[in-house]
């Protein structure tokens, strides 16, 4: 088969993800595009997809017992945009974030990232070495539990240095300088650079995690329930921090949360998940004030 222009555009679904410099703002600069994402835990059988989902009110296949954590999930995030992903526990939202960060392997589907091969190659199918590279250079992740994102018995600076080294920084002085700057941005006293995160409060650990996630200036930032478990005053501080960093650095952000309050404050657009499927996508204020799907209506009307 010839490598004509047609074939090439066909290979990426006719879409170009790496937009040029923005003229009318960064309106259509797609950073991440996920298409028909699938993740199944278990052996899976032919009836898995048709017998799970919101219609059946379950993610577990009655025939083979597999869990369909995500199926048919498609979404895009643009530069400088925060997309909210909301849903109850077990709806599959964190699974999507973890698979995008390659913590777990996707069962199927495609994901394209602007910085990787011009957004024309499916990152879910990349080799192990390529995945490491994508993760180190193009993504940042903040987990709900700081111990997943931080090495508790490495110093705070050591944790950030680890990410910087992975992203190709090799000058020690430069690393310390950058680590200091990241801590300042995340409002951690520079004097604590050499302290262990294990000795920090929950909110502070979360801020170190954010500093680490931002170390490589990632075009894509994944936030998985970052404020869950923090008390409200600390939560407000972390949310405020995320908003100002986002405005300043303009990454594309995926915010996974079960908390509609968090989504309302952070996200411009929101997707709602239930039993592994996206049931509704819309402007965040529209999702909250004029929800269309029965499940979203239930979710919104259940909020405190």
């Amino acid at each position: 088969m010839s490598l004509s222009g047609y074939d090439q555009s066909e290979a990426c679904g006719g879409r170009v993800l790496a937009a040029g410099p923005d003229s009318a703002g960064s309106v259509d600069e797609t950073v991440l595009e996920v298409r028909d994402f699938l993740k199944i835990y278990g052996p899976s059988c032919p009836s898995c997809l048709e017998s799970t989902g919101p219609r059946h009110n379950t993610s577990v296949c009655p025939r083979c017992g597999s869990t369909v954590a995500c199926a048919g999930v498609s979404l895009t995030i643009h530069r400088g945009e925060i997309l909210g992903l909301v849903g109850e526990s077990g709806s599959g939202k964190s699974t999507l974030a973890r698979c995008l960060y390659f913590d777990e392997e996707a069962t199927g589907g495609e994901a394209y990232l602007a910085g990787y091969r011009d957004g024309r190659a499916n990152i879910l199918k990349a080799g192990a070495q390529q995945k490491r590279r994508i993760r180190n250079h193009l993504m940042g992740m903040v987990y709900q539990h700081p111990h997943l994102g931080l090495k508790m018995y490495f110093t705070c600076g050591g944790n950030i240095a680890e990410k910087l080294l992975a992203a190709g920084f090799c000058h020690v002085g430069r690393i310390r300088e950058k680590a200091g700057e990241l801590l300042r941005r995340t409002e951690i006293p520079p004097g604590r650079l050499d302290d262990l995160p294990a000795k920090f409060s929950g909110g502070m650990q979360q801020r170190v995690q954010i500093a680490k996630a931002l170390a490589n200036d990632p075009p894509l930032l994944l936030l998985d329930e970052v404020t869950t478990g923090l008390d409200v005053s600390v939560q407000a501080r972390v949310l405020d921090l995320i908003r100002s960093l986002q405005r300043e650095l303009q990454p594309a952000v995926l915010v996974v949360s079960h908390d509609l309050g968090v989504i309302r404050l952070l996200a411009g657009r929101t997707a709602v998940m239930k039993n592994g499927r996206v049931v509704e996508t819309g402007l965040t204020d529209q999702i909250l004030e004029d929800p269309q799907h029965p499940y979203t209506q239930l979710l919104v009307s259940s909020q405190l």
């Binding site: 309106v27 945009e81 005053s233 949310l239 405020d240 996508t281 819309g282 402007l283 004029d290």
Partner: protein, 242 residues
């Protein structure tokens, strides 16, 4: 001159699945059009569908029928009833402002930063945005010592003024207002009217929901009165011959 906003046969109803799919009417068959620098007031009793109309234009509500043609400076002609979410967000950042009835803000964020936010989103430098935000708060009579406080603890009238400052500061081409003067005293009301007049003179078109008819008469060029979701009467040229 052509219209900036043209609403035709706008219909909104809410399907409540939690009540077995019951349909609650919002507004039905509302039509109006607005030129640059024109102000249209929407009046009528509570529950008449006034807020539904402006929330549909802002797309907080998804219209059930009809068209909302808006002539954008950056995107050309857009049907807001059907536009993509991304495009609506872009227009909100650049061209379409909204003053809600109640202020809902980020906890712990200072009043001056809440007001400055729209400018920062448009890419203005922080110091400049904050200075201008202070100017708006000063004009609206918010005491200097409150600028760095979070409005969560402000009085109703103060919150409303922060809300107005936040929307006006971006000098939108289209401004939607939901009872902007409801909880303001006379002096603050007069200042808001003055600021709205200035914005009109710059060419901003506005749609405002009002209970306060006296304030409405000072700014409105036309008015529709709504009842039971329908626009009952339409009047044009009220403040023209002032």
């Amino acid at each position: 001159m052509s219209f900036l906003l043209q609403v035709e046969n706008l219909i909104k109803y809410f399907t409540l699945h939690t009540l077995g799919g019951r349909e609650i009417p919002g507004c039905q068959g509302v039509s109006f059009s607005l030129r640059k620098g024109e102000f249209m007031a929407v009046t009528g009793p509570s529950g008449a569908g006034k807020t539904s109309v402006i929330k549909c234009v802002y797309r907080t509500y998804l219209p059930s029928g009809g068209t909302i043609l808006y002539r954008s400076a950056v995107c050309g002609e857009v049907d807001l009833a059907a536009a993509a979410d991304r495009q609506v967000l872009c227009l909100r950042d650049r061209e379409i402002g909204y003053v809600s009835q109640f202020l809902r803000v980020m906890p712990r964020v200072a009043a001056v930063d809440i007001v400055a936010e729209g400018l920062l989103r448009q890419g203005r430098p922080l110091m400049e945005a904050r200075a201008l935000a202070g100017e708006y708060l000063r004009r609206l009579g918010i005491p200097r010592e409150l600028w760095d406080a979070c409005p969560a603890t402000f009085s109703g009238g103060e919150q409303q003024r922060v809300n107005i400052a936040r929307a006006l500061i971006t000098r939108p081409r289209l401004l939607l207002l939901d009872e902007p003067t409801a909880s303001l005293d006379l002096r603050a009301r007069a200042m808001v009217v003055e600021m709205l007049q200035e914005l009109k003179e710059e060419g901003t078109a506005m749609v405002g929901v009002f209970h306060d008819l006296e304030t409405m008469r000072k700014v409105a060029d036309q008015a529709i009165t709504m009842n039971g979701g329908k626009s009952m009467t339409e009047q044009r040229g009220e403040s023209r011959d002032r």
